[in-house]
């Protein structure tokens, strides 16, 4: 499994490296702005760092789906399916590598944001006042308190939800490849299947009861999303094992 994961990582290593280089460039711009009081540069750096964080995490998941599509609909599928590994291991390695990459990227950008905020606060002091103002406005106008654990939970819930979407998309790609075997229109069929499966997934997620405690509801939704993702993974693995021809 680890060897499969190593090659899955290798397949997406170039784009991850590009993301890392871009992040480093914008981070330097941001820090340069902070240290030399160049607020335009700092603002630009910050804006692009936020874009890197959102699109980076999004793209890592998307690339996982695209790699699976390519692996099932081209001759490079032989590299996977000639090996003495079960379909569950092959798919499991893909999902795990992709899930870990998404979580790691998410964690990396959170740590970077905390670091940048701390540096900015220490160097120019304005950031803290800005955050306090935002906090006060929200307290007064919306009666919402920014609680750190709720923020962390929301971010984690977003990452888990993105992993679930990737698992659903993987299943759509596998179903399409099993039925259409790489024929014309398999991409469109996979997208249509993705919409249907996503609807099904959301219907099942809607069955989770809402509690007064928002955090508890969120934890339950995360747990149910993870369980459903595992169920979807096993169904996808079974389809690959029994029905998929490459």
């Amino acid at each position: 499994m680890l060897k499969l994961m190593k090659y899955e990582f290798r397949k997406s290593a170039s784009s991850k490296l590009i993301l890392l280089v871009l992040t480093a460039v914008f981070e330097l711009a941001f820090l340069g702005g902070v240290f030399f009081k160049g607020y335009n540069l700092m603002g630009t750096g910050m804006m692009f760092l936020i874009l890197c964080a959102f699109f980076g995490v999004f793209y890592i998941g998307l690339e996982g789906i695209m790699t699976l599509y390519r692996d099932l609909n081209s001759k490079q599928s032989y590299m996977l399916f000639l090996t003495p590994k079960s379909s569950y291991e092959i798919l499991g390695a893909k999902i795990l590598e992709n899930g870990i990459s998404i979580l790691m990227a998410g964690a990396f950008f959170i740590v970077l944001a905390v670091f940048d905020l701390t540096v900015a606060t220490l160097c120019i002091g304005g950031a803290k006042e800005l955050m306090d103002s935002i906090r006060q406005i929200m307290d007064i106008r919306l009666n919402i308190k920014i609680v750190s654990d709720a923020v962390i939970l929301s971010v984690f819930a977003s990452l888990v939800s993105w992993i679930s979407i990737v698992v659903i998309a993987d299943m759509a790609v596998i179903l399409s490849a099993s039925v259409l075997a790489g024929k014309k229109g398999s991409g469109i069929a996979a997208f249509a299947l993705f919409l249907i499966l996503s609807w099904l997934f959301s219907q099942m997620l809607n069955l989770v009861p809402a509690f007064d405690n928002m955090n508890l509801t969120m934890i339950l939704e995360i747990a149910v999303s993870l369980v459903l993702s595992v169920i979807f993974y096993f169904i996808s693995g079974w389809i690959m094992e029994k029905k998929l021809s490459v």
Binding site: S77, L82, T83, P84, A181
Partner: protein, 241 residues
């Protein structure tokens, strides 16, 4: 032929693509230690049948048993398949291909791979996406034959290989011959295969139309494999099906 000697059994195997049978009710047995020539024109079902044995394609009907068990994870440990098409990841170099096989196949010998590369005049730093058809064919043979597999399935191994290199390649392929090892080689070059094959399997329009031992064919029917090939696929071939 008793069951103990059969390494592989194909029982009523059928595979349809868009309603058309690519492989149609193929039943055959492969005996351990023999070299089989799998013959037939394009579209006769050779490649699809091999892919089913390799576990890449799932049969619609019937089953394939390797050493008495269904094709799967265990059979893949002992079956080495060389496809006609290139299938390596585009980012790979020749060295990466070797490392990949070493990572996944316990029977892969890096030493043998290096010897094969040297013989095929391939260098490790070459990018697979930049290889010519002939070089790619050589790489596929090198990496497949560097495995110490029990059953080799070579689909058109001489495709794209120039005349001068063919003998060297056939020599490399035949080096694995052993009482424990079975080889199935498909090729359009019937006379080339006749020299090395112990048995021949004739495929036509998805069906297996004949399986015979080469020596028996020569002694009892006074025919060569080439003669039988002409008979089956040339004039009058329709009557045999």
């Amino acid at each position: 032929m008793n069951d103990m000697e059969n390494v592989l059994e194909s029982i009523g195997v059928t595979k349809n693509y868009a309603g058309k049978a690519a492989v149609d009710n193929v039943s055959l047995k492969l005996e351990t230690g023999l070299v089989y020539a799998m013959l037939g024109p394009n579209g006769s079902g050779k490649t699809t049948w091999m892919k089913m044995v390799a576990g890449l394609v799932k049969p619609g009907k019937g089953e394939i048993l390797y050493k008495g068990k269904a094709i799967g994870k265990e059979s893949k440990k002992e079956i080495a398949y060389m496809s006609t098409e290139p299938y390596f990841y585009s980012w790979m170099t020749v060295a990466d291909v070797g490392r990949y096989y070493q990572d996944f196949f316990e029977d892969f010998s890096m030493e043998k791979y290096h010897q094969m590369l040297k013989r095929m005049e391939l260098t490790e730093e070459l990018k697979t996406k930049k290889l010519s058809t002939g070089m790619m064919a050589k790489l596929k043979i090198a990496v497949t034959m560097a495995r110490n597999a029990k059953l080799y399935l070579l689909d058109e191994p001489l495709n794209g290989i120039d005349l001068l290199a063919r003998d060297e390649i056939m020599k490399s392929i035949l080096e694995v011959i052993d009482p424990d090892v079975t080889l199935v080689i498909s090729s359009h070059l019937v006379d080339e295969l006749e020299r090395v094959a112990d048995a021949a399997i004739f495929m036509k329009e998805g069906k297996m139309v004949r399986q015979c031992m080469v020596e028996e064919l020569r002694s009892s029917e006074k025919k060569s494999v080439v003669d039988l090939y002409r008979e089956i696929y040339g004039h009058g071939g329709e009557e045999l099906c």
